[in-house]
Every structure is written in structure tokens, then in C-alpha cells.
């Protein structure tokens, strides 16, 4: 069957069971948008800005596990997606970004709205393509989805020149899998080593008296939360998580230690520092977790389970690597490991937990931590939380208990302010059964507040919870602690009325200025099945504690 490139693209999207794409039209993608005009199977969400589209697609992908799809035009349309692509790359989010491109004939001549997006995104994609030969289009699209989804997921960019979109090519409907896709056996050595290392891991775990599990985003991606829970209960190991690992282990479980690292709990950091066997599961030992490498888990045999062999010993030397899917590895470990009984170690960890709980002092009449605790209480944890970046993000990680994977969506690796609002739109579309709340600061809200237009246009029932301290809180915190209170360019001032801003978009806004008002306003916001902006006036000197100062060991905390 002969179809145009644009028609083939849409057919291939259907093959991949894509029913939702986020994008923004422009000159170089007009043929594709023209096909979408009559395509009922695919809903297109028009965002206010291409960055918002990319974050929305990320939110969708993070919430559902399915690849997020973005469609943008060439030049500025493509460059605006860069932050979202980098974000997806850092956090292993499956994303397929289609960008239009000038015609093959005009390529390389600095034509209008021409940019080398393949070159620009090379370091931040798992792979990318520029489709020069129209006949290759179906194969490339199928391969792009396969690459984005498989192994350690990640973003793929497909750049399609306009003439390719208009060329008639032969199209054979397929099952969505690339025809001649070969799994190259590049990792056979790692696979072979697994056999020996599995025995070594079992021995180390069986022998250990102070085991700790450190779970990361890989558990969420692999859907291995049940296996992790059973495994932890079998060996009686306390579980700490990275920021990306939130939801991998129930936050309500007695073995749960919360986050480890820079803003980890004292008891998580103490447990890791005293452990004799640290089992890292789908985590990558980020500098925000490890802090000082030589003082991280100094007494522990480190077992590292990860699907990406390049993560093994990248940041912290690993004693026993297990390369492969977290779920499979955990299943095998769990089946063969000896069951342990509760021990002195569990008692010790419990004691730390009781002695050093997360706490807050409450500066001023409204505490951000209290707002988040209330939010947890009122939603009974049955919500999807997206965050921006900074203090809001850390409080959201500390004071809301996540019990299921894919319910805490945050820009972990890249730390991109402006992520959350877009992500909440995508998450709400991916999880219509759940209320989605974006926990934001005023700084990050302002970065992409234009996406309120999208929220309003599609009546996306998200709650935008703005913790407004009129400053860049985390920057201010560092300036206060390490730069003698010289608040250089971190004071934003009371310059925007967020309630009026919301109203300008036709969205209801509420303001909270005291703890006593929190419950009522949140209840009201949660009861409405429509977008709401809730602004919380908080004190600019609220800080995120505990905190590991830069360069210190993780058990050397201040609070």
C-alpha cells in the first residue's frame, strides 16, 4: 500500500497503540498535522510551549510506563524540547519525540527554522535519527519505540524532513516491532558473570547481620515493587530509597527508612553507614545520595542490581554486580536466599527511627510540611504527586507517604524547574482515576506557568499547590548556610498575584495563610473535579532538614 510519509507516521503510531500525543504545530510538520486532522484514534494535546509538551509526555510516561509521544516543528520547536529530553534521559523515561525538519534539499544551508536537532540531542538521547530516505520511515519509527521502551528506557528523537512527510512510500502494516531488529549480544560477559555473582550475592546476604536495601527508580520502571517487598520481608532488611525510588517500597511499612542522601532521614543515612551488606536495586549511586564516596557504606559489601552494566562501579565501587532486569534478579534472589529472623540490627534501626524522626519547627503560621502531611491524610495517599524542583520537591518526598510505584513523579537527575506543571497534565491524562497534585514553589511555577493555558483548555483536573515563599527557597537555604546570608538574586518578591493569574486562565484559586485553614481549603480543592490553584503563604526561612553539607559523609547531618 502506498502512503505519504506523514500518513505512515500516523499509521505507525497506531501500531504502537499510541492514543495520546503532545505537541505544537509549525511549518515543517504541517503534512503530519493535516493527517492528524482526520485521525480519530489519536488525541492531540496542544500545549502552550513545546517544553510543556515534552514534560507532559514525560508525566504521562512516568505515570503509566508507556512511551510519551511528542510532535513539534523544526528549529525553535525542536530546541524547546531539549530540557524535557535531557530530563527524560537522566531519569530513564521512555519518550519518542518527532520533530519536523526542513526538506532534504534545504538541509545544511541554514534554512529558515533549520536546526541540527539530531546533533544537539545526541548526548541526551538513547538514540536519534534523521530520516533522509523516506522508505526507511516505518522501520525507524518501530525501532525508535523499541529502543525507547526496552532495557533501560530513554528518549529517542526522530527528525523528519518535510519532503519525507510528503513522499509516497510503500507501507506494510506490522505489529509494531521492527522487522530486522537484532538484539546484539554485547553484554554476554555480564550475563555470564551473573551466574557466579548470584552465588556471591546470596552468600553475602546470608552472612550479613546488618543488611540494608537501597532502592531506586529502576524498581518502579521494572514494576518490581511486590518482589522488593517480599524480598525485604524475607531477609528483614530495612529499605531506603533514592528520590527516584519513592513508591518502590510502601512508605507506610515498618521497614521503610525514607530517602537516603543529602536530604535523607537520619535513620536512613545511619543505617547505610553502619550496614555490612548494602543491596542497591535499580539505583545509580547519584552524588546526591552518596556525597563522599569513600565514606559511603564503608563497612558494607555492596551488591548492585541494575539493567545498565555501565552503572556498575561508575560512581561507587561495587563488590557484587548483577546485571539484568531488577524484577528477574530479585525473584531469583528471593527464591534462593535464606530467611532471616528479626535481629539486633532491626532493633537498632527502629531505635534510630524513633529517636530521629523527620520533624519541622514551623516558622510562621503556615508550615509547608504540614500542608503536605494534610494532603497525604486527605487523599489517603491515593493521589499522583508531581513536583517542581527545590524545597517543594524535598518536602514532597519527605512528608507524603508513597505506597505505590509511579505515584511520585519528579525531575530527579536533571532537577529541571518548570517540570511539574507540564508533568501533572500528562499524568492526569495517563491516570484519570487518580487526582494529580503538582507541588510547586513560586519560582518553578513561574518558569512554565503558561501551561495553565493547557490546563484550562482541556479542563485538566489537577491541583497546582504553590508553596509561595517569594524566594528561590533552596538557593536561599544554601546562601543562608554557606554564603553568610548573602541572598544574591534569590528574592523574587511579591510580584505576582497567583490567584488572579489563575483567574485569568479561568481557573479557581485559593489562598492559605495559616495551618488552621489548610484542611478546609484542601478538602474543597479535592472535592472539585476541575483545575484548582492553591497558594500557600510560607515563611522564606523554612529549610529542608536534615541536610548533609556538601562534601560530608552522609551520617554527618545538620538539622
Amino acid at each position: 500500500m502506498k502512503l505519504t510519509g506523514a500518513q505512515v507516521l500516523v499509521e505507525c503510531l497506531k501500531e504502537q497503540e499510541v492514543d495520546l500525543i503532545f505537541g505544537y504545530p509549525g511549518g515543517a510538520v504541517l503534512p503530519i498535522y493535516d493527517v492528524l486532522y482526520n485521525t480519530r484514534e489519536i488525541t492531540h494535546i496542544l500545549t502552550a510551549h513545546e517544553q510543556g509538551a515534552t514534560h507532559a509526555a514525560e508525566g504521562y510516561a512516568r505515570a503509566t510506563g508507556k512511551p510519551g509521544v511528542v510532535l513539534v516543528t523544526s528549529g525553535p520547536g525542536a530546541t524547546n524540547t531539549v530540557t524535557g529530553i535531557a530530563d527524560a534521559y537522566m531519569d530513564s523515561v521512555p519518550l519518542v519525540v518527532f520533530s519536523g525538519q526542513v526538506t532534504n534539499e534545504l538541509l545544511g544551508r541554514d534554512s529558515f527554522q533549520e536546526v541540527d536537532i539530531a546533533g544537539i540531542t545526541m548526548p541526551i538521547t538513547k538514540h536519534n535519527y534523521i530520516v533522509k530516505d523516506a522508505e526507511r520511515l516505518p522501520h525507524i519509527i518501530r525501532e525508535a519505540f523499541d529502543i525507547a521502551r526496552s532495557g533501560r528506557p530513554g528518549p529517542v528523537v526522530v527528525d523528519i524532513p518535510k519532503d519525507v512527510q510528503n513522499t509516497l512510500i510503500s507501507y506494510q502494516p506490522g505489529d509494531g516491532r521492527p522487522m530486522e531488529w537484532k538484539t546484539r549480544e554485547k553484554w554476554y560477559e555480564e550475563a555470564e558473570n551473573n551466574i557466579v555473582n548470584m552465588e556471591r550475592a546470596l552468600e553475602a546476604i546470608n552472612k550479613s547481620t546488618r543488611p540494608v536495601i537501597y532502592a531506586g527508580g529502576g524498581v518502579n520502571i521494572s514494576g518490581a515493587h511486590k518482589e522488593l517487598l517480599e524480598f525485604a520481608e524475607k531477609i528483614k532488611a530495612p529499605v531506603c530509597v533514592s528520590l527516584m525510588g519513592m513508591g518502590a517500597f510502601p512508605g507506610t511499612h515498618p521497614y521503610f527508612l525514607g530517602m537516603v542522601g543529602m536530604h535523607g532521614t537520619r535513620y536512613a543515612n545511619y543505617s547505610v553507614s553502619h550496614s555490612d551488606c548494602l543491596i542497591a536495586v535499580g539505583a545509580r549511586f547519584s552524588d546526591r545520595v552518596v556525597s563522599r564516596v569513600e565514606k559511603f557504606a564503608p563497612e558494607a559489601t555492596i551488591i548492585h542490581i541494575d539493567i545498565d552494566p555501565a552503572e556498575i562501579s561508575k560512581n561507587v565501587p561495587t563488590h557484587v554486580p548483577l546485571c539484568g532486569d531488577v524484577k528477574e534478579m530479585l525473584t531469583e534472589l528471593m527464591g534462593r536466599v535464606d530467611e532471616k529472623a528479626e535481629s539486633e540490627w532491626n532493633r537498632q534501626v527502629r531505635e534510630w527511627k524513633e529517636k530521629y524522626p523527620l520533624k519541622y519547627r514551623g516558622k510562621g503560621s503556615l508550615s509547608p510540611q504540614y500542608v503536605i502531611e494534610k494532603l497525604y491524610e486527605l487523599t489517603e495517599g491515593k493521589a499522583v504527586i508531581t513536583t517542581e524542583v527545590g524545597q517543594n520537591q524535598m518536602w514532597a518526598a519527605q512528608f507524603f507517604k508513597y505506597t505505590e510505584p509511579r505515584t511520585f513523579l519528579t525531575s530527579g537527575g536533571l532537577g529541571a524547574m518548570g517540570f511539574g506543571l507540564g508533568a501533572s497534565i500528562g499524568a492526569a491524562m495517563g491516570r484519570p482515576d487518580r487526582r494529580v497534585i503538582n507541588i510547586a514553589g513560586d519560582g518553578s511555577f513561574k518558569m512554565n506557568s503558561t501551561e495553565l493555558a493547557t490546563v484550562s483548555k482541556y479542563k485538566v483536573p489537577i491541583i497546582q499547590l504553590v508553596l509561595n515563599n517569594h524566594t528561590l527557597g533552596m538557593v536561599r537555604q544554601w546562601q543562608d548556610l554557606f554564603f553568610q546570608g548573602r541572598f544574591s538574586q534569590s528574592t523574587l518578591g511579591p510580584d505576582v498575584d497567583f490567584i488572579k493569574l489563575a483567574q485569568a486562565y479561568g481557573i479557581r484559586g485559593y489562598r492559605i495563610s495559616a495551618n488552621e485553614e489548610v484542611e478546609e481549603v484542601l478538602k474543597k480543592a479535592l472535592s472539585l473535579n476541575e483545575p484548582v490553584v492553591v497558594e500557600c503563604d510560607i515563611n522564606p526561612d523554612e529549610k529542608v532538614y536534615p541536610m548533609v553539607p556538601p562534601g560530608a559523609a552522609i551520617d554527618d547531618l545538620i538539622d
Binding site: A118, G119, M122, P123, K126, H127, I130, I147, E180, K182, R184, E185, K186, W187, D308, P309, A310, I312, S313, K314
Partner: protein, 178 residues
């Protein structure tokens, strides 16, 4: 310590920049890089000399393997055949020409061009041999020099080959298109 990597890649446009970009991005130093098509026209082979420790080489290998277009990465053993080619233009007067030719002969190199003021010497060998000749010719005045970068191949039945040859009709360039 220097390591020589033999990297088999898809012979597709843009692959060389993926490979070299990875090195600069991750802070690995390339000492030399040479590339050409292999016995299979769909596959090119890049020989990279990396200066680093075991950690660096381990990371380089794994990060390279993560590239979709990389088929196989091998560390070439120390007991391998390594060659590069250099063309050296040396200042030569009638008085010095014979001395230069003598040196060239000792190195089993070749004079490939001669005129009143200079000769061009072609030499193949490992980098040590080329460095030694360079040092000897330096006394006469090296006007210009160009080198290919090292290529290496293992001895005997140890080899760097694809386990699964590419589908060849898919893209047949025949010549290197990196």
C-alpha cells in the same frame, strides 16, 4: 597506561560523531583514532587508543556498548600487530640528501618524492618506530608531517568480528560513510 580498542560500528552517517562525542562528553582522552570499512561493507571499524586506567577503559567500553550503532568493543591485546602510516616532508639539500636516504633505509621506510629542497618519506610501523624516525629526521628540519593514527589487529585466531552480521541489503554503502 594505553589501551587499544577495536570498535565495530554500523557503517552509517553520523556514527563517528556519536563515538567521538561520547569521549569528550565523559572526559575520556583519545590519543588516536582511525576508521575504515571492514570485510563486511555494512560494518566499519574504529581503532581508538585511550590513555587511562582500568576504570576509564571499563567505563569507555560500557558506554560505547550502550550506543545503538556500536556492534562490538574489544580491547586489543598487547601482543598484537599495530601500525600507523606517516608521511614526513624533510628539508633536504644536495649535501644532506644522502644522509637522509641512509636513515630512511635503516628504518625500512621509503622516499616517495624528491625535489631540490626537500624529500617526502613514507613510513609504516608502530608509533615507537615512527617517533624514532621523526627524531632522527628532526635534525634536518621537518617541514610537514601527517599521520594516520594507529590501527591494530590481534594475532592468530583471536579476532574482532560481528556475532550477528548486519542485514546487508538494508544499507549498502560499500565505502566508509562515517
Amino acid at each position: 597506561m594505553k589501551y587499544v580498542l577495536g570498535v565495530l560500528v554500523d557503517n552509517h552517517p553520523g556514527v563517528l560523531s556519536r563515538v567521538s562525542g561520547l569521549f569528550s562528553r565523559r572526559g575520556f582522552n583519545i590519543e588516536s583514532l582511525a576508521v575504515g570499512v571492514t570485510e563486511n561493507p555494512a560494518v566499519s571499524r574504529i581503532t581508538i587508543v585511550v590513555d587511562g586506567d582500568e576504570y576509564i577503559v571499563g567505563q569507555v567500553t560500557k558506554q560505547l556498548n550502550k550506543l545503538i550503532n556500536v556492534i562490538k568493543v574489544s580491547i586489543i591485546g598487547e601482543d598484537s600487530i599495530s601500525r600507523e602510516l606517516a608521511l614526513i616532508k624533510v628539508r633536504a639539500t644536495p649535501a644532506t640528501r644522502n644522509q637522509i636516504v641512509d636513515i630512511v633505509n635503516i628504518f625500512r621506510a621509503k622516499v616517495v618524492d624528491v625535489n631540490r629542497n626537500s624529500v617526502i618519506v613514507e613510513i609504516t610501523g608502530d608509533s615507537k618506530k615512527i617517533a624514532a624516525l621523526e627524531e632522527m629526521l628532526d635534525d634536518f628540519g621537518i617541514l610537514e608531517m601527517v599521520r594516520t593514527g594507529n590501527i591494530s589487529i590481534d594475532r592468530g585466531m583471536r579476532m574482532v568480528r560481528c556475532i550477528h552480521p548486519e542485514n546487508e541489503e538494508e544499507e549498502f554503502y560499500g565505502e566508509n560513510v562515517l
